[in-house]
Structures are given as structure tokens and as C-alpha cells.
């Protein structure tokens, strides 16, 4: 049977993995190629690389790293961060990405989803969204979750899939960093509206959170960063545990 996927996310800046995105003051960094190899050996089902660099020189460093990883590790690689034009799709796909994740770029120009899907296929376009409750409604946020767009996130999701997004990453700002479980209410709302794979992000703190997540049949994958980076949860242990809980996983 098809398995539920466990996906570590690597934020890359200055050619290094920044481990502590959600924790002020933590400057712990690691070599992305080594880390990717480690996760591959540990049973990660895919890897997501976010380019959080600012300058052109650093962007070059990022694509060099991507090429290095993609030449040694043969599981699906998704790249996000700074994807604003179809040229950005070309750039990262040429360097070994399999899927391209769009977020703020698609908010500025929703056409980007269609362009990417038309040129590379729906399976290549991952729509990533930062969502937060505002006055009881789910709002879509831009710029790494810093800016409320006022857009209804549930409608945005449906529109995105209609435009050709082949997978969704749903990141809940409300649960992100809290480590008390995924935002199941939000995830269920989205799962009820679309029929593409949903990757849940934000809130994983322990193994039980993933078991709880996968009791919701509309969710296909769980994405996390810090709990894997700081070895609070080892992916192989997590998968062994999930299998014991009756969740289909690749071991």
C-alpha cells in the first residue's frame, strides 16, 4: 500500500542548514550535503530545501549545494524559497530539484502556478501556504508568515489546485513552533476541499503527533525541521513507532 511520508525540511542560508528557524538566538548550523545523506540513510521519504538567502551570490551557493545533493541522493527533492518566476523553476529543476514549491511568488502572481504546471506538469508544482486564524477565519500570510494578505486561505487552496498545484504544504502559523501537535482542524478543512496530496507542517513535537496526524485519512505526509535536526525524534524510530500504530510507512 501507499505509505505516509515523513519529510525533513532544511532551511539553507550561506550554504549551511540553519537548524533553529523558530528559536531566536540559536545559531546552530550544519553541512547540507552531510545532513541530506544522513536523512536519506535514516529513512526520510523526501527532502525539502528552502533557500532563505538574500543575495545573488548566495543563490549560486544554494544551487551548487542542490546539485551536489541531487547527484548523491536519489529520493524526491523539493525546492522552495525565492521562486517568483518560471525562470526560477528552470533554475532549480536544472540543478536537480524534482518539485518546486511556490508561496509568496504565487500570491504576487497566481499565474505562476499555471505556468509551472503547464511547463513541467502538476506533479512538479507544490503550493506552500502559511496560514493563521484571524477573527475566526483562516487567513493566508505572505513573506514567511509575517504579512497578513487578508486572503481566505481555504479558497486560496481550492483556487491553487484548480490552477494546477499538484501537492500542498499546509503550514499552520498558530501551531508552528508550539510543538503540541499539527493543526488538525485546519488540515481537515483543507482535506475536505481538495483531492491532491497534503503535506502537514507546523506543530510536530513528538512521535504521537504524527500518529494523531495520520489518523486523519486526508493527510499524506508530515513535514518537520527542528525535531529532526536536534535529534529529538529519529526518523527511523518514528517510522517503527508509526508502523506499530497501524500506519503504513516505508521502512
Amino acid at each position: 500500500m501507499i505509505t505516509k511520508r515523513i519529510i525533513p525540511c532544511l532551511d539553507i542560508r550561506d550554504g549551511k542548514v540553519v537548524k533553529g528557524r523558530n528559536f531566536e538566538g540559536i545559531r546552530d548550523v550544519a553541512d547540507p550535503v552531510e545532513m541530506a545523506a544522513f536523512y536519506n540513510e535514516s529513512g526520510a521519504d523526501e527532502l525539502v530545501f528552502y533557500d532563505i538567502t538574500a543575495s545573488v551570490e548566495q543563490r549560486q551557493l544554494f544551487t551548487d549545494i542542490l546539485t551536489k545533493v541531487a547527484s548523491q541522493i536519489f529520493i524526491p527533492l523539493t525546492v522552495g524559497g525565492g521562486i517568483n518566476t518560471i525562470d526560477d523553476f528552470d533554475r532549480v529543476l536544472k540543478c536537480g530539484a524534482d518539485k518546486v514549491s511556490v508561496n509568496s511568488g504565487a500570491i504576487r502572481n497566481p499565474q505562476l502556478i499555471e505556468e509551472g504546471a503547464k511547463k513541467y506538469g502538476d506533479q512538479c508544482v507544490v503550493l506552500s501556504m502559511d496560514i493563521k486564524r484571524v477573527d475566526g477565519k483562516f487567513h493566508l500570510f505572505a513573506k514567511g508568515g509575517r504579512e497578513d494578505t487578508g486572503i481566505d486561505a481555504l479558497q486560496w487552496t481550492v483556487d491553487g489546485v484548480n490552477r494546477g498545484a499538484g501537492e500542498l504544504v499546509v503550514n499552520s502559523i498558530d501551531t508552528d513552533g508550539v510543538k503540541e501537535g499539527f493543526d488538525l482542524e485546519l488540515l481537515d478543512e483543507i482535506a475536505a476541499r481538495v483531492n491532491v496530496p497534503i503535506i502537514a507542517s507546523g506543530g510536530a513535537g513528538k512521535m504521537e503527533d504524527f500518529a494523531e496526524l495520520f489518523r486523519h485519512p486526508g493527510i499524506d505526509a508530515g513535514l518537520a525541521a527542528s525535531i529532526f535536526h536536534f535529534k529529538e525524534v529519529a526518523i527511523r524510530d518514528l517510522k517503527t513507532y508509526l508502523r506499530g500504530e497501524g500506519v503504513e510507512v516505508r521502512l
Binding site: 505509505t3 548523491q72 529520493i75 506538469g121
Partner: protein, 197 residues
């Protein structure tokens, strides 16, 4: 040398990188003479059937491809490249395939999400392609259409609430619906086995 047929469909980075990784000699080509000189051929492909089929025929390589298969040269089709090996596809219409393996490509009729995206286990028959593969190993799929009516040529099946034809083999032609170049060590093992044929 393995010739990877380049007809402008999909991203060949992972495929060439994985073949390089296992030590195969790889050339990405749209040149008849390179196909003729190759020991083995791979037909990749991602996207829509009709578009890919038109692009493949537009290369003018199809006659050479038939001739080389006829001469016994191993051919591996991957994903859409596999789907093109069959008689017909019913993706947005009805299209003739290459007819190298009997079978028809149809939309996956399942109660699960389509496309199937992710890792699924395979039940395998004994086959030279699976020299390094175990029954129950996991492979990575991304597809909305699937080969049916392949009969005894089916060598791997996955369960997606309906049986999914994972791989086929007839004579010197193989096809995998999943992506060996994205299936970790399991996939690398299959590429190694193909390289060693």
C-alpha cells in the same frame, strides 16, 4: 553505453545522475547513430501522453528505436516512457503507443487520491531487473494513468486499492511505472541490474 533518449520531455537530471552514480556510461541523446552505438536504451518521460508521443515521433528516432529493439538491444521505459511501450493510451482521447508490449493505459479508477504520489511497496516476480530487489521493497510513484491488460508480462504490482502495474518485461523490453531514479537504494539496484544485463 546507455543511451537516454532525449525528446524534450521532463527533467533528466536525476536519471543521468543516478546512472552516473552506479558507474554506468551514460549519453543523453536524440541522435540515431548514438542509439545504434549504445548497448542499452532508456526511454524516460513525464507529462501528458499525447504531447510526449508527438515529441518522440518528431525526433525521427522511432524507426531506429524499433530497429534496435528488434535487434535485441535492451530498452527500459520509465513512467510515461513505460506507458508509451504499450498498444494504446486513453489519456484525454485514444492514442496509439509503440506497441512493444501488449497492454492499454487507462486512468487509475480508485477511491484514493489520483495522482498516486509517494512510496508504495511492490510484489515482484523473479526477473533479471530485480536481481537486487526484494519482494515488498518500496518504490516512488507519480502518476494518474496506469497500464492494464498486460497479462503475463507484468513483473511487479502495487496495491492502490486497485492493482497498479508497477513493472513489465517482454523479451528485451522493460518498463517501470515508478521512478527507479527517485526510489533510493531500491531504485539504484534496478538501474544497476539493467546496466549489467
Amino acid at each position: 553505453m546507455i543511451a537516454v533518449i532525449d525528446y524534450g520531455v521532463g527533467n533528466l537530471f536525476s536519471l543521468t545522475a543516478s546512472l552516473n552514480y552506479i558507474g554506468a556510461d551514460v549519453t543523453v541523446t536524440a541522435d540515431k547513430d548514438v542509439l545504434k552505438a549504445a548497448d542499452k536504451m532508456i526511454l524516460p518521460g513525464v507529462g501528458a501522453f499525447r504531447d510526449a508521443r508527438e515529441k518522440l515521433f518528431a525526433t525521427g528516432l522511432v524507426d531506429t528505436l524499433y530497429e534496435q529493439v528488434e535487434a535485441g538491444k535492451p530498452l527500459l521505459g520509465i513512467c510515461l516512457g513505460m506507458q508509451m511501450l504499450f498498444d494504446k493510451s486513453y489519456e484525454y482521447g485514444e492514442w496509439d503507443g509503440l506497441g512493444l508490449i501488449p497492454g492499454k493505459v487507462r486512468y487509475i479508477e480508485t477511491d484514493l487520491k489520483v495522482p498516486q504520489i509517494g512510496w508504495n511497496s511492490i510484489s515482484i516476480k523473479e526477473d533479471p531487473l530485480f536481481k537486487y530487489t526484494k519482494d515488498g521493497d518500496f518504490v516512488y510513484y507519480v502518476h494518474s494513468y496506469c497500464a492494464t491488460e498486460c497479462g503475463q508480462d507484468t513483473i511487479a504490482v502495487s496495491d492502490y486499492h486497485v492493482p497498479i502495474t508497477g513493472a513489465v518485461h517482454k523479451g528485451n523490453v522493460w518498463g517501470t511505472q515508478f521512478h527507479p531514479e527517485k526510489s533510493g537504494n531500491v531504485g539504484l539496484g534496478m538501474l544497476r541490474a539493467f546496466n549489467e544485463l
